[in-house]
């Protein structure tokens, strides 16, 4: 009912207009994905189609060709875990502390967390190179150390996800209620604050995972191997398999973000802004 009124007075598009726009844009956006899929079935330059590239992934005889990719995927997974740990151990407690104890610092924290949008990865990497030459001497040159840089790149996304949740729940009243009922700080944190922030925490973790899995710039220019750099390398030798894995990772990322969307709106609170 309300929809038809809204359409009649011009506030919303009619059904036909909506369908035309969405179908045209949708088709245009499907073409490159479809082209990737079509490419993975090609037999070669001569034409014809084959399943060989897909079945080849499971062929142990060819596994050595993908060993670098497997290393890259392994590294990316480790990086994702460490980055999420940084978000949860460094960013989250700071956000809670600032929210409850330093209301005046909220704006400062927000600005700090938005800065990485203005300082793109390609710029950050110029300054990260000397920083990492020091990091390597302290922590070693293992790939997981890249997670410190990734923690910065995910900062805006993680901050936004947690902040949306912090802002929607009255943390100050809740924690004071807990305190006045005799609970200690740890107890309040663990039993009152964190359960109320669950959705924001999950959303921040998932978006961090998605961003880390897609990261290329920093890993590539600091000469580390992650999933993306390995994919690009594999594309030079076996383009078909590179495209297959690219497609698969797109699907995985899509599902991860679909899940965040579901979590974000279970209680009518939109956690992205």
């Amino acid at each position: 009912m309300s929809r038809s009124i809204a359409t009649r007075i011009g506030a919303e598009p009619g059904k036909a207009t909506r369908s035309v726009i969405l179908i045209i844009v949708g088709l245009v956006f499907v073409v490159p994905i479809a082209a990737m899929l079509e490419f993975t079935f090609r037999a070669g330059l001569a034409g014809g189609y084959t399943f060989a590239h897909w079945t080849g992934i499971f062929d142990p005889a060819q596994a050595s060709n993908y060993s670098n990719l497997l290393v890259g995927i392994g590294n990316s997974v480790v990086l994702a875990i460490v980055t999420v740990a940084i978000v949860l151990v460094v960013l989250l407690p700071t956000m809670i502390l600032v929210h409850l104890q330093f209301p005046r610092l909220r704006r400062v924290l927000e600005i700090i967390c938005i800065v990485p949008i203005t300082v793109p990865a390609i710029v950050l990497v110029v300054g990260l190179a000397p920083v990492y030459s020091v990091v390597v001497t302290i922590l070693g040159g293992d790939t997981w150390t890249l997670a410190f840089a990734y923690g910065i790149t995910v900062l805006p996304y993680a901050y936004r996800a947690i902040q949306a949740n912090l802002g929607a729940v009255d943390m100050i009243t809740l924690s004071e209620a807990g305190r006045s009922l005799g609970a200690g700080w740890l107890r309040v944190l663990w039993h009152v604050i964190l359960p109320n922030l669950r959705r924001g925490i999950i959303a921040a973790s998932f978006i961090s995972v998605a961003v880390v899995l897609g990261e290329f710039t920093i890993a590539s220019l600091l000469n580390r191997t992650n999933m993306q750099t390995a994919l690009l390398q594999l594309a030079q030798t076996d383009g078909y398999v590179a495209v297959i894995f690219a497609l698969l990772s797109l699907i995985v990322a899509f599902l991860i973000l679909l899940l965040i969307g579901r979590l974000g709106r279970t209680r009518g609170n939109r956690s992205t802004s």
């Binding site: 011009g10 079509e38 793109p120 000397p130 220019l221």
Partner: protein
């Protein structure tokens, strides 16, 4: 020795007390300062982390351009920014970002308009939201692959156009691995970013405004031009700036498509980092980073100014 721990235990107990006795609390100044100190201590891990991995790298990035590799101060790199070869890359970056930002903003806004009135929790919206996030943030290398498979020399669309209509899109040379080749992949991630950033603004349009417009005898046209457009303008242009910044700073897609040469600024930084001599100058990467960050600061300042004007209508 046995007495000493007592005050600590007492303090521990007192801390468990409710905080609603400000008088008793201020009556214990030493404990209060200690508590405050502890609170500030809680901020240090984040402060140190951001200092080491954000502040220092950023400062290093923009300052190394002023020094030679031996540490002597020099303006040579900054002067190098005005070298015609470097200016050309900045110009290429500008026009690629501008074109893709404008196309992305217009198409993205159209999609947002089409989505008005659909349920935010519905399957259509959540699919489009997730797909947009993936393409806007995850793209990079995949988009390069996708467009090589689509409009590469052996691409699906290339072959289709050639075999069906006899059109050779590369008749004047292969442009996919040049700057013009960046346009389509960039638009492919700009449109989704526009959908993500502009949708909240469109949803902020109150149905009452359309009703008021209709009651006062306004048409659909007057509603969009006289009511919606002025309200949406700051948000639209803000999103446009964000899209510009996004394309300007994007590296992965370009790096995967253009393996030779350095036609845009991020690729120029790559060359400077790898070979360490652009135009025969050391530390040119720092100067390029400084140039980029100046552009980014100008664009993002405009963005946040426009964004704060938008926020007014989203209450």
């Amino acid at each position: 020795m046995t007495v000493a721990p007592a005050p600590v235990v007492l303090n521990g107990d007192a801390e468990a007390q409710p905080r609603r006795h400000p008088l008793t609390e201020s009556a214990l100044p030493p404990r209060r300062t200690r508590k405050r100190l502890a609170k500030y201590l809680g901020l240090t891990p984040f402060a140190i982390y951001v200092l080491v991995f954000l502040a220092i790298p950023t400062l290093l990035a923009v300052s190394t351009g002023f020094f030679t590799s031996t540490g002597a101060f020099t303006m040579a790199n900054i002067v190098g920014l005005f070298d015609p070869a470097i200016l050309t890359t900045f110009f290429s970056s500008f026009w690629v970002s501008a074109v893709t930002a404008v196309v992305g903003a217009v198409v993205g806004a159209l999609v947002c308009y089409a989505l008005l009135g659909t349920k935010a929790e519905g399957a259509l919206r959540s699919t489009i939201d997730s797909a947009s996030s993936v393409l806007a943030q995850f793209g990079g290398i995949m988009l390069a692959f996708a467009f090589i498979a689509t409009i590469g020399i052996q691409g699906m669309v290339t072959l289709f156009l050639k075999n069906t209509f006899g059109i050779d899109i590369f008749a004047n040379g292969v442009w996919l691995y040049q700057v013009p080749g960046l346009l389509l992949p960039y638009i492919y991630f700009q449109v989704p970013l526009m959908i993500i950033t502009f949708m909240p603004a469109l949803e902020g349009l109150k149905p009452q405004w359309a009703e008021a417009n209709a009651t006062l005898g306004g048409t659909r046209f007057t509603y969009w031009t006289r009511v919606a457009a002025p309200v949406l303008a700051p948000s639209f242009f803000g999103s446009l700036l964000l899209l510009f910044a996004n394309a300007f700073s994007s590296y992965a897609t370009a790096a995967a498509l253009i393996s030779q040469g350095s036609q845009i600024v991020p690729l120029q930084i790559r060359t400077a980092l790898i070979s360490e001599t652009v135009l025969g100058r050391e530390n040119m990467a720092g100067a390029l980073a400084l140039g980029m960050i100046i552009v980014m600061i100008i664009v993002m300042t405009g963005y946040s100014a426009l964004q704060s004007r938008t926020a007014r209508w989203q209450k």
